[in-house]
Amino acid sequence: MSALGKVVRSGVGRRRVQSLVMALTTFAAVTSSVLSLGLLAVVQAPFEHAFSARNGAHLAVQFDGSKATAAQAAATAHAAGVTGAAGPYPIAAALDTTVGTDCPDKDFAGHDNGPITVTTRPDPGSTSGMDQLVLTQGRWPTGPGEIALPWQHFATVCFGDSVVFSSLPGKPSFKVVGFGGSVTNSATAFATADGFARLTAAGAKSDVQMLYRFAKAGTDADIATDKQAVAAAAPAGAVEGGQSYLTAEQQATGNAKAFVPFLIGFGILGLFMSVLIIAIVVSGAVASGIRRIGILKSLGFTPSQVARAYTAQAMIPATLGVVLGTVFGNLLAVPILDGATKQLGAAGATIPLWVSAVVPLGTLLIVGTTALIPALRAGRMPTVQALVAGRAPKAGAGRTAQRLASRLPLPRAMSLGLAQPFARPARVVLVGAAVLFGMVGVTFAVGLGSSFNKYLDTSTSGFNVASEFVIPTADVGVPWGRYGPNDPRRPHLDAAKVAAALAGTPGTKAAFGWGESGATIVGAPPGGELPKVFTVTGDVSWTKMELLSGRWFSAPGEAVVGDKLATTVGIHVGDDVTVVQQNKQLPLKVVGINFDTNVGDYTVMTDAATFTAAGLAPHIEQFNVELADNVSGSDWSTSAAAALTPLNASVQPHSDGGKNIVVITMGALVATLTLMVVAVAALGVLSMVVQDTRERVHDLGIFKALGMTPKQTIAMVLTSVSLTGLIAGLIGVPLGVAVEKATLTPMGNAIGRHLPPSVSHVYTAGLLVPLLAGGIVIALLGALLPAGWAARTRTATALRTE
């Protein structure tokens, strides 16, 4: 081994703690960066690629066939901002379907298949023009009895069998000959013109669809403006709905993309901490090794060799951290990305190779540059000065602080410790910065974690609030949603009789009934989850269901719309929304937007009486019952059972709703990254205190010779970091809150939701006060080990140390 190699190896070996800190900090930074950049690339790229390759439409607009002719719709191709258009295509929206009984799988045969939107294209297999369709299995329909639809909209095991339009008279049936669709979900089923005619002949309402590309379509606001321009070019009130490519993108990438904002936050934080820790450790190594540098140079080491030696001492552990971080980041990405790309037909859920190359190399470049600066200083240091200067702090440094601290009414060991950092102000700044970044990370993570928990909290709001549930007896022990809402086997409650029975049961304080009506929403995004229309009977005010705007429905014809549907489609309070059940349309006035993550993405809630008055069938499938205070659930159940059993209804005890796996994964990831950040911050402090303790070992010997006990020594060392920790905490917490605020909104947007104050305003006084003390905790955590070492230092040896 060369002399330089030996110097590097001994340097790394002498500073094992600092080397570990450097490895850990780069590990944390690279893990976060690989994940965030990788996720961005992976979730964004397939959609962007597919959208570009298939010349996707920025906007698909559906015109009411009774208000606009095909020619009038086609004329909107000349609306302001339109750079390209396709259509008009006939379209029939939200037609209820069931899987044909010819499907050999009994679990699917005859079952509800949900509503689908059917269109026809002159040449669905065309590889030119706008919104080119892609076939993933089978072929495009060629006859009037054939249809193709995306794999997500039909049971794979029933491919080749029939789909039945169950709400149309005559229940026309089509053979599923292909799985395929549009990148922007412009429609969910494709038939031939003859096939489409069969649907309209059976009673389906035929509307007109136009597809557009615009000059400016980068944001939701752009698309909204474009949509207005199209609407202005069409007959008044003709536009029924519009599907933005941004919605499709969000549906395709949402869950995975929701990880990106906080991963970017942690990535940047990690990178800052890497730079900081490397600067701390290498500067510290240079500062405390000045005499060693002098000896090396007196032995003939050139300035360049000295600089390389000190840079290499940082680069070896940093490289280890970078390699491990890259591997770990790739491994963590697998569960997060699983399924995120499937929808777009992407082959694998792995981070692109270029990310795994650029991030580590970039990190090494940054840490190398950071290490090189103090290393060059070491190399340029005159030999004699290095040999003579040693490592003592400059005379006079910290004296004022000592004088002032000695006046404080503190035990002497603590006042000595309190003033100690002022002897090395630059070092204090570095320690403070490490704690500050740590506290930014902790505050950010605690806020995110609290928000996630609020978001996850499915048991305290909405349809999950109840002392007891009453459900159809046939549903007891049966998984929720086994049969679709329009499936004839799905049992319903006799709302009026059950309500009366509950009202007559002693101990019932309040109750309301609700159910999925099986209706769908005109203009709802065809991709993603199926839209749901809930019919409700009774008072829901006690359930703490959260309204983002407007009020709850109180009159016939009123409805409350879920925020995701409102955001995606652009529905506001005062707008109308049309629901369709069994091919019957019902316009509803939107009087409120609510936030509920438990019952689906695209939801509308209205009073059951509204449905009944319009000739539609409300479905009531569950009653939520609130019991009066001091009423035993089991006693009430026994008492209620007598009245409910004849109504084919049963009491089911309350149980927590399922957890959102995406949010759980995020929570786990946030916790992991936070622990890493806190560990790195504490190790940064540890590294500095170790260095400080080494340099002050002689003073420690003096103190101990004068009678300082081990406890007093520990108190002195811990106090030396506490003020720095406190100040860093006081600065770090507000910064962390700001970072959380800046991150949470984009995360909500990524999953298409406006997060209400209950989710986004989580920094209560009860949370902030302990957080503000967190800086001290990190500082003390970091200083605890070296404080113990200081207490155990042998006095006689320390006194001999110069």
């Binding site: 035990p411 002497r412 004068l706």
Partner: protein, 248 residues
């Protein structure tokens, strides 16, 4: 009935690693009010002996009793409290804390022992006055001469009114005038009844300051003699104690 000795070492042996013992089973005693010089060349074991008495180090075997306390049995905290209460130390290179003023340096031992700040300050000022350096109370040690610094160290050592003053080469870093100054100071303190153990390799200092000189050679007591003040007879006197198996 005789008073128990202030210091009593019984077969005190200290061994580091595999080398020869630094202290080879020393047995000696020092009476209260005595001023004893420990004389020896570099490596003779005199600093090790001082460390054992101060509770800074523990013997590998044997016992060390100071002012009735078995120092060799004390833990870390007990040793620290013992030093506070019973020991004052002065060193060759003073070991003052550069970032504290002279007054603060002197006050530290009392404050560590829990004495109130006001009381500690009164006593420190009094000590500095009696040692003639009270005008430097607010100065920092680096601005003082070697002799002045050693006086500050003496003041600090006396702050808790220790039963025993240990001086490790107290004049080793001083010019002759300052050294004489410190020597007189030690004599004065001893004449007031302060028990002093003075470690030095300076025969003249030992002879002129201490009433008794113990000479260590290779970790063993070579001679233990009472001085006549000239130091001339040190080499001819018969050792009073010679441990079995000691080298040299």
């Amino acid at each position: 009935m005789t008073n128990p000795p202030m210091i009593a070492l019984q077969d005190a042996m200290k061994k580091y690693d595999d080398g020869p013992p630094a202290l080879a089973g020393v047995t000696l005693s020092v009476a209260s009010g005595e001023c004893v010089a420990i004389l020896g060349h570099s490596g003779s074991g005199k600093s090790t002996l001082l460390n054992l008495i101060a509770g800074l180090d523990k013997p590998s075997s044997g016992t060390v009793t100071v002012d009735g306390t078995r120092v060799d049995q004390l833990g870390e905290a007990g040793s620290a409290k013992y030093r506070r209460a019973s020991i004052g130390m002065i060193f060759q290179f003073f070991n003052l804390l550069d970032d504290l003023t002279v007054l603060d340096n002197v006050m530290v031992p009392a404050q560590l022992a829990g004495m109130g700040k006001g009381e500690a300050k009164r006593r420190a000022v009094e000590l500095l006055g009696s040692l003639g350096i009270d005008r430097h109370a607010k100065a920092y040690p680096q601005r003082l001469s070697g002799g002045q610094r050693q006086r500050v160290a003496v003041a600090r050592a006396l702050m808790n009114k220790p039963a025993l003053l240990l001086a490790d080469e107290p004049t080793g870093a001083l010019d002759s005038s300052s050294a004489e100054d410190v020597r007189r100071l030690l004599l004065d303190l001893n004449s007031e009844g302060q028990t002093i153990v003075l470690v030095t390799h300076d025969v003249q200092l030992a002879a002129s300051t201490a009433r008794r000189t113990i000479e260590l050679v290779d970790g063993a007591v070579e001679r233990d003699v009472v001085n006549d003040g000239s130091g001339a007879g040190l080499a001819a006197r018969t050792p009073l104690t010679r441990p079995a198996g000691a080298v040299g």
